[in-house]
Point group: C2
Chain length 224, copies 2
């Protein structure tokens, strides 16, 4: 295996790499077979088969029963898929007026279209966006992913304020809830009060006070 960079991966292989990347993000444990099976909605036995194959291609470091990590090349491939996913999301929202909770599925397909020229032109067309519609950073052409430090509302103190800049949870329900209650990316938010009893938080948004649950507070990210 010496033809790393030319190597074209299947849709499925790309999905494995991308999900291993996400599962490994900010965690230094190996990613387990079961964890992968769960996010990919498949069976552990299938995952084992694929891990062997990816290992054969030197895209993951795999040892029986020990889970995996991505190799340098595996990581590059994963980041390239994420770059495409996030750029397409920006396109869908900004140009085609999708809502931020509607983009994921389609972007899951678009992220596997392979054309350097396409993705670089798209990036230019979109004016080199730094983040996708959920506030997640877009890796650049060279695979460099610079993420701003974001803090969940649940870790802030009374009086802190900042801009709503991302989410930790990407489910449609959560995004719709945020939309409905005006907790929109880019808005500024201030902590008014923290209720000890259940950890819910009173915040100030656009001049209105609003209560959010601890669960929401944990999943809403702020740039100070």
């Amino acid at each position: 295996m010496a033809y790393f960079y030319i190597m074209n991966l299947s849709f499925t292989e790309e999905n494995y790499l991308k999900n291993i990347f996400h599962l490994n993000f900010n965690v230094d444990e190996n990613v387990s077979t079961n964890a992968i099976a769960e996010v990919l909605n498949t069976k552990a036995a299938s995952v084992t088969d694929m891990l062997k194959k990816l290992s054969e291609k030197e895209l993951v470091n795999y040892e029986k029963y020990q889970g995996v990590t991505l190799t340098e090349i595996g990581q590059q491939k994963a980041i390239s898929v994420i770059r495409k996913h996030r750029l397409w999301e920006v396109f869908l929202v900004e140009k085609l007026h999708f809502k931020w909770d509607e983009v994921h599925e389609v972007a899951e397909e678009l992220e596997h279209i392979n054309s350097e020229k396409l993705i670089n032109s798209l990036e230019e067309f979109l004016n080199f966006p730094k983040t996708d519609p959920h506030g997640d950073p877009i890796p650049d052409k060279n695979g460099i992913l610079k993420s701003q430090e974001l803090i969940p509302v649940s870790k802030l103190k009374v009086g802190n304020s900042g801009l709503i800049s991302g989410v930790r949870e990407h489910s449609v329900e959560f995004l719709k809830y945020l939309d409905k209650t005006g907790l929109i990316l880019g808005e500024s938010l201030k902590i008014i009060e923290i209720i000890n009893f259940d950890g819910s938080v009173m915040v100030l948004i656009k001049g209105n006070q609003q209560m959010i649950s601890r669960e929401v507070a944990k999943n809403l990210l702020i740039a100070l």
Copy 2:
């Protein structure tokens, strides 16, 4: 098989349908196994297998040794793929500044992304274009493909004139040649002289006279 419209087709199945449609266009013969094998760059045996499968799904009318035609539903599916292909080509040329000879490959991938909302929004974003960058008509949301009558230069008489509106041959070489010699979609063209010896044609474009071979004349389409 009663769940026609919901039925999701594989990438491969869609490609078969699309190519059968093209092979059958303006021809009333059944499409032969070999013809399909040739355009799809595969073997006749593989085509036979797939035709059986498509026939099973009632997407083609197939009888052993007699070739195929598309059923109503098969045709709808094919047209939907063509619609997507052509809309993406417009996007690539108009928004991402691809040249008309660079779009085909990428559009071959994009055409299989399945989302009604995506394609209809794209169409609106592009302002409901009538044709793709090669002058081929774009089917509407309901699969209606209204094609203007286009005539190859080789069928015109001296003195006729019209607008360059399409091509019969889509190869990169041919498109590059047209580009280089100024035979661009939308330009008006007039027949000055037809050389009996080899069928080449002297045409007037943008005030300049230019000679084109019979081969080129056969593949360049004019709207009168």
